[in-house]
């Protein structure tokens, strides 16, 4: 745990605090001020991302600090998109999610700038990591909806929104193609950089596990439909756990660091 006494750290803390404040105000049923704070939090997260980009002079998605900074910026657009196009709501939880993903960037991971090793100097670096980050944020929102289904079976108060189980399914349908694309980009990149389209590296295997968990969810839901809503929801939460292990594996398991060790 470290406090970052830097401009970068200051912007992250400001964004985190704004997201938290927006969440508290949203919980207190003050919709408009909460929304305004949510937008301010988003803008601060964008500033943090751009500041980092200018500082390190490459797309800031190389290490976990940069990945979490990027995630902090994606929450608000996802909230707006989900409500408008998928009728999935519960923005208050998204505000909290914004604070949660900025916390590791602010307090856990080192912000020490790193140069790009030769393997990362590839046009696939940005699209591979970007689609994965976007899919992870979407799947995190799916898991939040699943938690909503398990804890609030009555569903959302806003009748224009779909129920939590359907919302979970919609979010997974949104994130799964991106996750697939991330996996394929990674394999393509592995072929270019390491000579193998599939290297059985631990991080590769965890990303396969994550993909298979969501593939299993989609098959289970196809076979049983909405008959076992709670199992559907638990499955989506297990998917998020698999994402967390995949994302943090290089830090969790130094013994099996593998080819993705630079991504710490």
């Amino acid at each position: 745990m470290e406090i970052k006494w830097t401009i970068q750290g200051g912007i992250i803390y400001a964004a985190l605090a704004t997201y938290l404040l927006a969440f508290v105000i949203a919980v207190l049923q003050r919709g408009k001020p909460a929304k305004a704070l949510y937008i301010i939090g988003f803008l601060l997260a964008v500033v943090s991302f751009i500041y980092r980009w200018l500082h390190v002079r490459h797309v800031p998605m190389q290490n976990l600090f940069e990945v979490f900074v990027t995630m902090g910026m994606l929450i608000y657009p996802l909230s707006v998109f989900s409500r408008k196009y998928l009728r999935v709501g519960v923005e208050a939880s998204d505000m909290l999610l914004g604070a949660v993903v900025l916390f590791p960037a602010g307090f856990i991971f080192s912000a020490e700038p790193q140069t790009l090793p030769p393997a990362l100097q590839c046009w696939l670096f940005a699209p591979h990591v970007a689609v994965y980050i976007i899919s992870y944020v979407i799947m995190a929102k799916a898991a939040v909806q699943a938690i909503g289904q398990l804890s609030l079976p009555s569903g959302p108060r806003d009748s224009s929104l779909v129920d939590y189980e359907m919302a979970t399914y919609h979010m997974i349908c949104l994130g799964f193609p991106l996750m697939t694309l991330g996996l394929v980009f990674g394999s393509w990149w592995g072929h270019l950089a390491w000579g193998d389209w599939w290297g059985w590296d631990p991080k590769e295997l965890w990303s396969l596990v994550t993909w298979l968990v969501y593939l299993g969810y989609l098959h289970f839901r196809y076979i049983y439909g909405r008959k076992y809503k709670r199992i559907n929801s638990i499955w989506a939460i297990v998917g998020l756990l698999a994402i967390l292990i995949t994302l943090l594996w290089v830090n969790l398991a130094k013994l099996f660091s593998g080819l993705h060790s630079y991504a710490t």
């Binding site: 196009y85 998928l86 140069t115 090793p117 030769p118 393997a119 100097q121 590839c122 919609h170 349908c173 949104l174 799964f176 193609p177 697939t180 694309l181 394929v184 394999s187 393509w188 990149w189 072929h191 270019l192 950089a193 390491w194 000579g195 193998d196 389209w197 599939w198 290297g199 059985w200 590296d201 631990p202 295997l205 965890w206 396969l208 596990v209 298979l212 968990v213 593939l215 299993g216 098959h219 289970f220 196809y222 076979i223 594996w249 013994l255 099996f256 593998g258 080819l259």
Partner: protein
Amino acid sequence: MTRDIPKKLRWFLARIVLLWIMALAVLAVIGAFRGATRARELFNSFPMQIFWLVFTLLLTVGMLVFARLRQKVGLLLIHAGCVLVLVGGMWGSDLGHQLQKQFWGIDKVPQGYMVVLEGKKADKIMSGDFRKELAQLPFSLRLHDFRLEYYHEQGKLLVYRQDKSGSQIDMIGKIPARPGEVLQLDQGLPSLKVLRQFHNFRITTENGSRTITDDAQAGENPALELELTWPDGNLQKSYVFERFPKFNQVGPLHFRYILMPKDYFSDLEVEVAGAPRTVRKMVEVNHPLHYGGYYFYQSDYDHQGGTYTVLSVTSDTGLGIVFGGYFLLCLGTFWHFWFSGIFKPRLQRINSD
């Protein structure tokens, strides 16, 4: 045909596929805990070859018995894509190569390594430990030049001290390798100052006097010029080399100059006996050479003198099938989940407007 197959049997098949997916997830978790080398052994083992084959058959049969998988374009693309990835993977596996040699006489090795000395040529694929020759290529690779580029601005100088018995070396300091940087060491030891940073250190001797220059010509010999100020006031100049660490010693102090490679390049030429035309390519990380059914990747290099390059060699067997499968899989997932799925009502509304 679909109607003839009992519904119960079809749903049984769907459940088996689900079971297979989850079994693969569990095996992948086990593989992740075993590390890449042992995971590769596991997933290439004979029981796993059976597992892959059954998985491929299940998907193929699934496409035949579930009309939905054939009628919905997205689902058809996804499942056909998965089948192609599995078929391509099996075709390019160790067992796949063995079977191709046995039945069709195609003699290729799945993977290996080559070492090519600067100015020389090589045609032998070796095992990972370079002890066993795996194959001889019908052509050879000549290394015209090997070049290494560094992030010079990110260098570090590490300082170690040898204890009195000479048996142990401990790190006692670290500073950025930039001119002007100073490091104060413990009592009895000198303070250090970086005076100059060389990209390409050269010594020239003219009329009996030595001149040290940073040669602008092609080549890399990164070095640092240090000034050591001893406790008694004596000044000493010393040079620390990135590539020649055995020269980096002053009294009890050992130095290491660490630079991160930015990129490394092998200027390679393919030479085929009797053929007038040759293929030449600058191979670097992310830019392999593809020739004669193999990909040649920039894998490693001579860290001391930069006099040779290490290439990893991979057979291209099955690769086209796998990437064809990937293309169908991606196209299918976006088609099915986005355009025929969650965005369909909106797209229909736009079309009707």
